[in-house]
């Protein structure tokens, strides 16, 4: 017989055995920032959901929205929903990761400010500005407005999306920097040392998940920054042009990966929260680490299934993408979802509002994933690509998994603080409405997708409005469930507020996570410094007359030479900043370092436009100074990177250089 009263410090609403592995209470800081992010995310999701219902009603011809407004709303719905889910999942992961990793509140607030500013810019660009280029802003569509939007709204939208990406990047850098410092470097944090038998104790599962997500997130954000910078340049220099295939690869590498990562962000939180209701801890095993290493690679490489119908993409890339897209299913199906069902089965699971939503989200992830895997087989994709089947599968795992988890995470915080949950009947009504509405809505899209109805149509093909009408009804049912959820948790929030004074303080094991004792630099040994110096020496080639002449063959080559100059500065900065004497003088300026490594490549790309450098070509001294400026920006980035520790420092500088190379590949216009 299990105890019916919870041990001191653990709310009775959780599983009684949860006390054996759950810290007594989150610090106010963790809870406040978690609530800020989750509250904002859920509010954004609700607002964007209203737009979604409006669009579906318009497709059903129940309401009348002009095509121009439909596509504005569609653009805002996509960008806003992704941002809302990203924010909610960042908050959830922060909340669980900070138990063991000393993430910085200042960084979270800076990330929040950037994302909020970006979201505001996107709203201004779409609603009053009329921008309707789709949230994927597929180049060169932003510059073919068909009379619908102006240059300022293009710029506002692109800058807004860039700010959202930067905010996510700030969070990711902090995760990498702090998690690797806490858990013995990259190999320790990812669990590789444990996998190889060198560490007896594994890192916590949320640290493994968070580090994989952060590194993949930084890679995706870098590609996004490169193409966004190119597009921003085009708003003030019409000479900038794009290679459509490379640009499409970058857009989907950024967009698909970011959308995919919201699920993996959630996974990190699930490893901590589901055990609290199942009474069984989630342990990091060697199979778990191996699975996440697979996901590490698959998340980055699966995106190119978006280009199956771009037949000029090399066939080897298409076939590889097909294999990787299927392989991505394996760690999810065999490890995360499967092990969660093992955790729940026969556990005397505590069914609360939060824990029910956590559980049903797994079904949404699995069923949506099956729809995605079917679409990722090339001959099937030939018949489903860009039909509403695509809309169906991603709404299944976003609405019925990620949105549901966002509500679950919020409910968990409130259940913890109020130490109560809602009645079984209310819970059944809320979850029932969400599931009936959600699966009904996505079901209409699956059917219409199989029929061949294309996606992103303001006007539906003749004879298909019935699907939209049924979808609208189901969307309203889902909205009703969402509203009922908010009504249900309002009393919990009130109780939590009333009990704020008597809130359980953190137990002795909940002390502030330990911060690393000493600041480390990216290049610590003589060999590492020698390699850094050697890279700088090789990069000097970017200044030689031979390379300069060869770079005149085209804009892409010219931009690539600039990347070489940036690399020279970056390598020099990394070497100099890593020297003990210099490092001591620079001090512990982590925030400044982060700002430098983000701002320097952005500045470089934003001035790398034909209007600037073509006018300099008649003036050798100024032209040389321009190239020296590229190296100087690299130097700033390199010095900044040294303030971020060994792993985050090397990673951010490498990605800064990679960003400029990707820019060179995608931006082809202008003279040499």
């Amino acid at each position: 017989m299990e105890a019916t009263t919870a041990p001191v410090g653990i709310p009775a609403v959780l599983h009684p055995r949860a006390a054996e592995f759950t810290r007594a209470g989150a610090r106010a800081l963790e809870r406040r920032i978690g609530l800020l992010y989750l509250g904002t995310g859920v509010a954004l999701v609700a607002a964007m959901g209203v737009l979604g219902v409006l669009m579906r009603l318009d497709q059903a011809t129940v309401v009348g929205i002009s095509q121009a407004w439909f596509y504005r709303l569609m653009t805002l719905h996509g960008a806003g929903m992704l941002t809302g889910l990203l924010v909610a999942m960042m908050g959830a992961l922060w909340y669980v990761l900070r138990e063991t990793v000393p993430l910085r509140a200042g960084r979270m607030l800076a990330a929040y400010a950037l994302i909020a500013a970006g979201a505001l810019a996107v709203v201004v660009a779409t609603l009053p500005g009329g921008f309707a280029g789709g949230w994927t802003f597929l180049p060169p569509l932003p510059f073919y407005p068909a009379g619908q939007w102006s240059t300022w709204s293009e710029a506002a939208f692109l800058a807004g999306m860039g700010a959202v990406g930067l905010g996510f990047g700030v969070f990711c850098v902090d995760v990498v920097e702090q998690a690797t410092a806490r858990h013995g470097g990259l190999a320790g944090t990812l669990g590789l040392r444990f996998l190889l038998g060198r560490d007896a104790e594994p890192p916590p599962p949320q640290a493994v998940a968070a580090t994989v997500v952060a590194i993949d997130g930084l890679a995706a954000a870098s590609a996004g920054m490169a193409i966004l910078a190119g597009l921003l340049c085009r708003t003030y220099d019409a000479g900038v042009a794009f290679d459509a295939l490379v640009a499409k690869n970058l857009v989907y590498f950024f967009g698909h990966t970011a959308a995919n990562l919201v699920i993996y962000l959630a996974a990190g939180a699930l490893y901590v929260l589901v055990p609290r209701y199942a009474g069984r801890p989630y342990a990091t095993t060697k199979v778990f680490v191996a699975g996440w290493m697979g996901s590490f690679a698959f998340i980055l490489t699966a995106y190119s299934h978006h280009l199956y119908m771009d037949f000029v993409q090399p066939e080897w890339a298409q076939v590889t993408s097909s294999i990787v897209s299927y392989a991505a299913l394996l760690p999810v199906a065999v490890i995360t979802i499967y092990s969660m069902t093992m955790l729940v089965w026969g556990s005397r699971y505590r069914w609360t509002l939060a824990s029910t939503l956590l559980y049903v989200g797994f079904a949404g992830w699995a069923i949506g994933g099956v729809g995605a895997v079917i679409d990722s087989v090339i001959p099937f994709n030939f018949r489903l690509h860009n039909t509403v089947w695509v809309v169906a599968h991603f709404h299944t795992y976003l609405m019925l998994a990620v949105v549901v988890w966002a509500l679950a995470f919020l409910a968990h915080l409130l259940e913890w603080d109020s130490d109560r949950t809602v009645s079984a009947r209310s819970r059944a009504a809320t979850v029932g409405l969400l599931l009936a509405g959600g699966y009904g809505l996505t079901g209409t899209w699956f059917l219409a997708g199989a029929l061949g109805v294309p996606r992103r149509y303001a006007l539906q093909p003749a004879g298909t409005s019935g699907y939209s009408l049924a979808g609208s009804v189901f969307a309203l049912v889902f909205a009703l469930g969402f509203l009922l959820f908010l009504i249900q948790v309002a009393p919990l929030a009130r109780t939590a507020w009333e009990r704020r004074g008597e809130r359980r303080g953190p137990g002795p094991e909940a002390a502030e996570p330990a911060r690393p004792a000493e600041r480390r630099v990216p290049l610590e040994t003589g060999l590492q410094l020698a390699v850094g110096t050697a890279v700088a020496v090789v990069a000097v080639a970017a200044f030689t007359p031979q390379v300069r002449d060869a770079a005149e063959a085209g804009a892409g080559w010219h931009h690539l030479a600039h990347s070489g100059q940036f690399l020279l500065g970056g390598a020099l900065g990394l070497v100099l900043g890593s020297l003990p004497a210099v490092s001591r003088r620079l001090g512990d300026r982590s925030s400044l370092g982060l700002s430098a490594v983000l701002a320097a490549p952005a500045a470089m790309m934003l001035v790398m436009i034909p209007r600037v450098y073509e006018s300099l070509e008649a003036h050798p001294a100024e032209h040389a100074l321009f190239h020296a400026g590229m190296a100087a920006l690299g130097l700033v980035a390199g010095l900044g990177a040294t303030r971020l520790g060994p792993v985050a420092g090397r990673l951010t500088l490498a990605l800064a250089v990679a960003m400029t190379v990707l820019y060179a590949a995608a931006v082809t216009g202008g003279g040499g």
């Binding site: 596509y71 309707a132 597929l138 060169p140 569509l141 073919y144 068909a146 619908q148 459509a244 295939l245 499409k248 199942a278 119908m309 771009d310 037949f311 000029v312 298409q318 097909s322 299927y326 299913l329 394996l330 199906a333 065999v334 499967y338 069902t341 093992m342 729940v344 089965w345 026969g346 556990s347 005397r348 699971y349 559980y359 797994f362 079904a363 699995a366 069923i367 099956v370 079917i374 087989v377 090339i378 001959p379 099937f380 030939f382 018949r383 690509h385 860009n386 039909t387 699956f446 199989a450 029929l451 061949g452 294309p454 992103r456 149509y457 006007l459 539906q460 093909p461 003749a462 004879g463």
Partner: protein, 178 residues
């Protein structure tokens, strides 16, 4: 022209519905048994044994499905040879086909491009069934090989969001009886 379900799509939809239903039942059963008390040792013994089989099953299904799919890729191979090349140009918001028609049974190579932004050529047969799609990209030519046996009017819709009139960007291509 109203749309109709194509046979491949019906098969895919049925497979998906069956798997989704099976997953729904599995989650419901596990959820119903979540309230019982099973020792962790028993959960691990049964769970890990089933997991190995689950992994093996997914790997076998993947190898089979992907392996077969690689013999049915829609990509063109080699030069156009004896195929009739149909030049397809697209732009905001139009399609042009040169030549605009071919006799039934002709082995066609669609050479698809765009003069402005990305579009997508979604081809529907005279019965309103989606045959397939290929993207139209500025600066690139995507080539799609098909043999069109059914005579009649093939309708083209845009399959990549391209701006204001995306939903009404129609085109048509005629296949004449032999």
């Amino acid at each position: 022209m109203s749309l109709h379900y194509g046979e491949p799509q019906v098969a895919l939809g049925a497979v998906f519905a069956a798997i989704a239903l099976a997953l729904g039942v599995a989650f419901a059963v596990i959820g119903l048994q979540a309230g019982t008390d099973v020792s962790v040792e028993r959960v691990h013994r049964i769970g890990y044994r089933l997991r190995s089989r689950w992994l093996a099953f997914l790997v076998v299904v993947g190898v089979l499905v992907l392996g077969i799919s690689f013999f049915a890729l829609p990509y063109p191979s080699g030069a156009s040879g004896e195929r009739t090349v149909v030049q397809v140009a697209s732009g905001q918001f139009f399609w042009t086909f040169t030549p605009p028609s071919v006799p039934a049974g002709t082995r066609v190579r669609f050479d698809v491009t765009s003069v402005d932004v990305n579009h997508g050529l979604g081809l529907y047969d005279p019965h309103g069934r989606l045959v397939g799609s290929v993207q139209a990209m500025p600066g690139y030519h995507n080539r799609l090989d098909l043999t069109l046996d059914d005579p009649g009017r093939y309708v083209v819709r845009c399959f990549e969001y391209c701006g204001l009139n995306h939903a009404t960007m129609f085109g048509s291509f005629r296949v004449t009886p032999r």
